[in-house]
């Protein structure tokens, strides 16, 4: 499989990365080089093989559903590019 210019634009938008028109063909070439490389996996017989979902066999650990942290709004906001009155500030979403 390989990607065309439109697909590159669509992936970039899905990934929320702005890509300039003059970067498209270069990016298309690089993505297709990687896709050509991974193409060899098509040769592997994976019939009746379970996908790996856990690296080490272990049951998911659980803990009581209680509050263990919090009341640190100032710390949470400290690295934000824009805040106001204890909230994250973003460009207007709803008109």
């Amino acid at each position: 499989m390989s990607v065309d210019a439109d697909t590159v634009r669509r992936i970039a938008h899905l990934a929320r990365i702005a890509v300039a028109e003059d970067e498209i063909s270069h990016l298309q070439g690089e993505l297709n080089a990687i896709l050509a490389f991974v193409e060899q996996l098509a040769a592997v017989d994976v019939a009746n093989v379970e996908p790996m979902t856990s690296v080490t066999p272990m049951a998911m650990k659980k803990r009581p559903d209680v509050v263990t942290d919090g009341e640190i709004a100032e710390q949470v906001l400290r690295n934000a590019p824009a805040t106001q009155d204890g909230f994250f500030l973003v460009p207007k979403v709803v008109e």
């Binding site: 990365i17 990016l27 996996l41 994976v46 934000a80 994250f88």
Partner: protein
């Protein structure tokens, strides 16, 4: 007496405990070495003030008998580990001004045991790279050079700053992370020891995430014993990481020098790849001979799915990265670029904040997870991963205790030498190391010798899950036979490193 920066961790520990040297003077010698080696670009943030304060506290504990196992030992920290009140960037522009309000579990463990922080070490952006050339802060230059050449060589990656700093004697040890070989490959390129422990052995909490099912922290050091000492402090159960294993941490140091008599060591025929240098091939044979002379039994083994590990990795790792890096949206932390609306702001922030290798991997990951392609790529890669892991399990079931391979197919290359249009050329550096991450196994790289041009080569030992002690025992045999390798300190004005 030898230079303080030439000491091993084990030697420094004994001298500190016997009060022959102070933590303050040891820290001072390393602070000076770091300042004198800026030409290597190994550090992205030097923290001499914390180093002095931590050393002072260490001296107090050494005096009153409450010293920890790493008391007064100066270390460097890969800039992927969050450090409280010390800028943590993952070597990315998007985190250029990020100052964590918390400390990663692994570094907390090191400070708990008395270690001293010298600063934060350069790496490939978000650990995506094999040469430390994708860093926003510029490439790290290896302390090693080819014989008769002054061309800059890469230290390997992604933990290139860690490897260069330890090899150049700027710190006694350093932390790294390994997703596809990012500890073992730079350790091999820099002539030092590095171990990626079993997945789950070290907590991932507070480490900037790349590919969560593959990422694992581990140490760099100049000797096998030192790596064992560091791993013991770094490892351990952490309730904040659900994949962290609740299992006692052994005294790894005690395994160094342990007999390997009768131990079965496998040589996988699939690792004899095209393009492997004659020096590498010869070293691999020498490594097997050294182990045999010490009583190990060398057996031929087969890992038939080896060749599929790298392509499967380049689906799984970007897929997980595209998901993990979705958090960098210009809202909660990091860079923000203005936009017409919120989506436009996201797109411009991420375009400006991520470098080209990171953007490329996020896009590949987004593509292989997108509707209509998930089964063909991601699901298939996860099945191939099962087969890769099965290969190792079948090998271990035949009584094989560990597997010996070269760490890389060749020695390090020059800065800028592999910047062609085809990203796959760079990926091939990791052909011998990614299999280990795909299977979640422990892997250690130990220096084996120099190639014809005078650059270091490493041997990799792959072990059964949680059998790091076996790797330390085998590696110490190789270390004894091969000796240690030290670069000439060309970067230091005084000629002393």
């Amino acid at each position: 007496m030898t230079e303080l920066t030439d000491l091993t961790i084990a030697q420094a520990r004994d001298l500190l405990r016997n009060r022959k040297i102070s933590a303050a003077e040891l820290a001072e010698a390393h602070v000076a070495a770091v300042e004198g080696a800026r030409a290597l670009n190994a550090f992205v943030e030097e923290t001499p003030q914390s180093a002095r304060a931590m050393a002072k506290a260490a001296d107090a504990r050494l005096a009153n008998g409450t010293a920890g196992p790493l008391e007064g030992i100066p270390l460097g920290v890969k800039d992927l580990f969050c450090t409280r009140d010390v800028r943590t960037t993952a070597a990315s522009r998007i985190l250029e001004n990020f100052v964590p309000t918390y400390e990663s579990t692994v570094t907390s463990n090191l400070w708990r045991d008395g270690a001293v922080m010298l600063g934060k070490l350069n790496n490939d952006e978000f650990a995506m790279g094999s040469s430390n050339e994708t860093s926003f802060f510029g490439p790290v230059v290896s302390p090693w050079r080819r014989k008769g050449s002054n061309q800059d060589i890469v230290p390997g990656g992604s933990s290139g700053g860690s490897a260069a700093a330890v090899a150049a004697r700027l710190c006694l040890g350093a932390t790294g992370t390994d997703t596809g070989g990012s500890i073992r490959q730079p350790a091999a390129y820099s002539g030092i020891v590095g171990i990626k422990p079993t997945y789950g052995r070290c907590s991932r909490w507070g480490i900037v995430a790349f590919a969560s099912s593959l990422d694992q922290a581990g140490p760099f050091a100049r000797t096998v014993t030192d790596a064992a000492i560091l791993l013991r402090s770094m490892a351990g159960h952490d309730p904040k990481d659900t994949t962290s294993v609740d299992r006692a941490v052994p005294d790894y140091e005690a395994a160094v020098g342990r007999s390997i008599k009768g131990m079965k060591v496998g040589i996988p025929k699939e690792y004899r790849v095209d393009g492997m240098g004659a020096d590498v091939e010869a070293l691999w044979q020498r490594g097997a001979d050294w182990l045999k002379e010490s009583g190990a039994e060398i057996v031929a083994v087969s890992l038939p799915h080896t060749r599929y590990a790298l392509p499967a990795y380049y689906i799984v790792a970007p897929a997980e990265a595209s998901s993990n890096l979705a958090r960098y949206d210009g809202v909660r932390y990091g860079l923000r670029e203005p936009g017409r609306d919120v989506i436009d702001m996201y797109e411009h922030t991420r375009a400006a904040g991520f470098g080209k290798e990171v953007r490329r991997r996020i896009m590949i990951g987004t593509y292989v997870l997108s509707a209509g392609y998930y089964d063909a790529y991601y699901l298939r890669a996860q099945k191939v991963r099962t087969l890769i892991k099965r290969d190792f399990e079948q090998c271990f079931a035949q009584g094989v205790a560990a597997i010996l391979t070269p760490t890389t197919p060749s020695a390090a290359f020059a800065v800028g030498e592999k910047s062609s249009a085809d990203p796959v050329e760079m990926y091939l550096n990791d052909v011998f190391t990614v299999t280990v991450n795909m299977a979640g196994l422990p892997g250690l790289s130990v220096p084996g010798g120099l190639d014809a041009s005078g650059l270091p080569l490493g041997l990799q030992l792959i072990g059964q899950p949680f059998e790091e002690e076996t790797l330390f025992a085998l590696a110490s045999v190789i270390e004894r036979a091969a000796g240690a390798f030290t670069p000439e300190p060309w970067w230091s004005a005084s000629g002393q490193a």
